[in-house]
Point group: C2
Chain length 544, copies 2
Amino acid sequence: MQPISEIAHSLGLTDDEFEPYGRQIAKLPLSVLEKRKGGPQGKLVLVTAITPTPAGEGKTTTTIGLTMGLNKLGVKAVAALREPSLGPVFGVKGGATGGGKARIEPSDQINLHFTGDLHAITAANNLLAAMIDNYLLAGNPKRLDPRSVSFQRCLDMNDRALRKLITGLGGKSEGVPRETGVEITAASEVMATLCLAEGYADLKKRLARIVVGTDETNEPVTAADIQAEGGMAVLLKDALKPNLVQTIEGNPVIVHGGPFANIAHGCNSVIATRLALALGEVCVTEAGFGADLGAEKFLDIKMRQAGLAPDMVVLVATLRALKMHGGVPLDSLKAENLVALEAGFSNLARHAENLKKFGLPVVIAINRFPTDTPGEEEALEKLCKAHGLKVALSDVFGAGGAGGEVLARLVTETLATETASFAPLYPDSLPLRKKIETVAKEIYRADGVEFLPAAKNRLAYLTKRGYGNLPVCIAKTQYSFSDDPTKLAAPVGHTLTIRDAKLSAGAGFVVAYAGTLLTMPGLPKRPAALDMHLSDDGEISGVM
Amino acid sequence: MQPISEIAHSLGLTDDEFEPYGRQIAKLPLSVLEKRKGGPQGKLVLVTAITPTPAGEGKTTTTIGLTMGLNKLGVKAVAALREPSLGPVFGVKGGATGGGKARIEPSDQINLHFTGDLHAITAANNLLAAMIDNYLLAGNPKRLDPRSVSFQRCLDMNDRALRKLITGLGGKSEGVPRETGVEITAASEVMATLCLAEGYADLKKRLARIVVGTDETNEPVTAADIQAEGGMAVLLKDALKPNLVQTIEGNPVIVHGGPFANIAHGCNSVIATRLALALGEVCVTEAGFGADLGAEKFLDIKMRQAGLAPDMVVLVATLRALKMHGGVPLDSLKAENLVALEAGFSNLARHAENLKKFGLPVVIAINRFPTDTPGEEEALEKLCKAHGLKVALSDVFGAGGAGGEVLARLVTETLATETASFAPLYPDSLPLRKKIETVAKEIYRADGVEFLPAAKNRLAYLTKRGYGNLPVCIAKTQYSFSDDPTKLAAPVGHTLTIRDAKLSAGAGFVVAYAGTLLTMPGLPKRPAALDMHLSDDGEISGVM
């Protein structure tokens, strides 16, 4: 690893433009961005994926590897990634620092506390929560209805016993008993809010407008009514500064913000993306889960709010996942199966078609696995070409930046020869239900949307209260285009059911729930924590 | 402020012996201590106080000012302080970075997230908690009784609504419903455990022995049974490294660990104290609340476990507090009152007498307030001298290191001329109840101890299970020698009532509860958070 000061210098940062956190991590103050306003801007490349297997298809690994590959070609590329959450690290999924020879470092630190951003978000969230209960007890001048309080506490931990709880027990002096819950920090409104904020002034405005519940006449009560936004902003001061690290080949990576991609919008922070664009020739970034969830939200929420536009999209596919979509069970994905591959290709084709609806050039990256056969790779390349899709084989897990050069070359060619004409899928002015219907039909390819009564009422209420102009964030399973995780490939004839909706006023979107989605994961029977050790000399092992 | 690298160099640390966190804070890896084992050791000076007013008597300010004063005299003194907790910062009491011209910097950062130690402790604590509930759900091979689980979650926040709650609601798949609570992080067993650990190996051993509940036959079930100690240790890796900052006069200060002084032992970490002794000629450190609580625990718990011995004690007194002990109400403490001063002096005299029972030289520091009158100061000096007590006026709040030179000179003289012969108050072998009785009689000056049935049973149980050799940590009000906060000065004829007891196996002590003590504070009607702001440029105001 190079000293982080060298990485910072390679980006043209002066010594007072980065704050070291140890020798391998730095925070970049917001003044860095301020100073470069109006200056040259890099190209923006979004990495997304087909509908994934439970193991994921290697979006982060491809993002890192593509960045390494571009740098090998002499292009000053900067990756912009999300921060890991401790919940999955100690639970089952693992960290978020890539894999094989396409990794970022120092991975243990990044996967654990990193620079404390998630802890700061947890603290800011829980300050508001404590102030709400204190407000109820100390006079409650706005007549906040305790039963209406929708703002929950959060913890950066997988802890299913906290999904539903009753707090404020123990008698009159201990508070107002009420049913509530605890979310994982990555699913919290404060996380989404921070990731979409443009700076301190905007952050404060967003925090102030968070709706915590309603009064007796059903009018929203906000964090501003509780006077919590000042204390929350103070706690988030350093968390709003992006973090600089490096790939194992010494290329710059900005890792900042980590909202979930179902309940929230699933992208790293707007500030981090802007910073990567200001400091590099190309910013390679990613969005969570498959393109129906992550890319749609990246484009319709993050790009819309920030007024940014991507220049192209890399759609990551694996032969394993395509075979799964072609009907092969998870435990048989290693065997060659050209028939299943062709059947499952419909998933890839639909995602690519969807992305083009946003006016974006698309290339396919085949993320190589050791079990892939030459016959399958050839077949997939042919299928792509038959569908008019540019494709590159990417072996960044196995070969690092060298394995990403073919993809990097395809990306630079595409950037040089194709012009994006990005537009979000729907205008702000479209009513909330129409927005949901648009995403359902255009992206999920549903025949229509069924709104259950709770959803109808909530969407009508939010429209009446002036939130109808916000974009929608549909919380749906990542395992299917539809809301049924068993419907693989490119399902047709399905209806999207919207069960309920929730305002995320700080983030600036309305969450629509298709099915039941957990905002607090549980630990598996055998948590990853069981395999973690710290040696007597302080060496960490078992953190993935 | 000087760059932290200069402070580190002034202590003889090389560039690879400190890890910068920004430009003004560094973490010191444990190898620094390891390398200096067997080398020269500084003198250890404990700063404690008389029974305080609710505002506190300025122990931290005196510790900082004395360190500055010693450095002014050419003595290489290093202060070792506790870390602030976010709960009091956002609640009512404020931070822990001193006051006036005796402060440490960067105070906003220290009072907010600092280097994330408290967040790491919160995470490690809550990982164990989540793993306990997961263990109950996932087979429970040790037959842990859900109703017996005594280990609680924690948060670094004042949040009274979390004192008592019911978790695991929502049906069979969500866990086992049970009544539990949330403590503030400073009151958690993990905090006390970290502060008493000697290194990574010892930390792991201590974490493993934390008792989380009992099985069907009433046998303890530990964190080791849940296999949580590895993951917890991984989360605590960086938190075990002491933090280096500076006084506003550029003297080195180590700030590390912050357990409460009633429910826990109230001192900074053993590792930080050892480090200050290895790096400086004098280590000035403090213990929470009055000497009956903080100093007794510092001596009987921290010094006993670490095998360290202090060289002398500075007992901080204020004229205000002495007048309060002499019967003056809190709102009239500004007026001169020599009669009350003399009456209240009994509190000071008793604390000094107590400290001498440990074989320690004692000097009195009068911490000057602007409302003090020359007549009062003179009267107090006379009273001290009449009782054979060395005394110095300290004006570090008003005049910084220059205002601490008189005290610093008295301290260096005392270190040069008097020899401590430290011994803890009781031997390990004394039974738990006898230990409590010893502290009650020798320190609190109670006629005796009444053990309520729950306490009797618990102490007998702990003795039977092999924990009888541990020291006791008595959780008592800080406002009186007795367990009744209204009994000021030097009460006699009182009985100490022990209501219950609790094992803190990781920390290595048994907590005995004298009265009801909150392990989760609440926010006041008007929390300090209401006055905090972040400017559009990221400047913090209102954090004290």
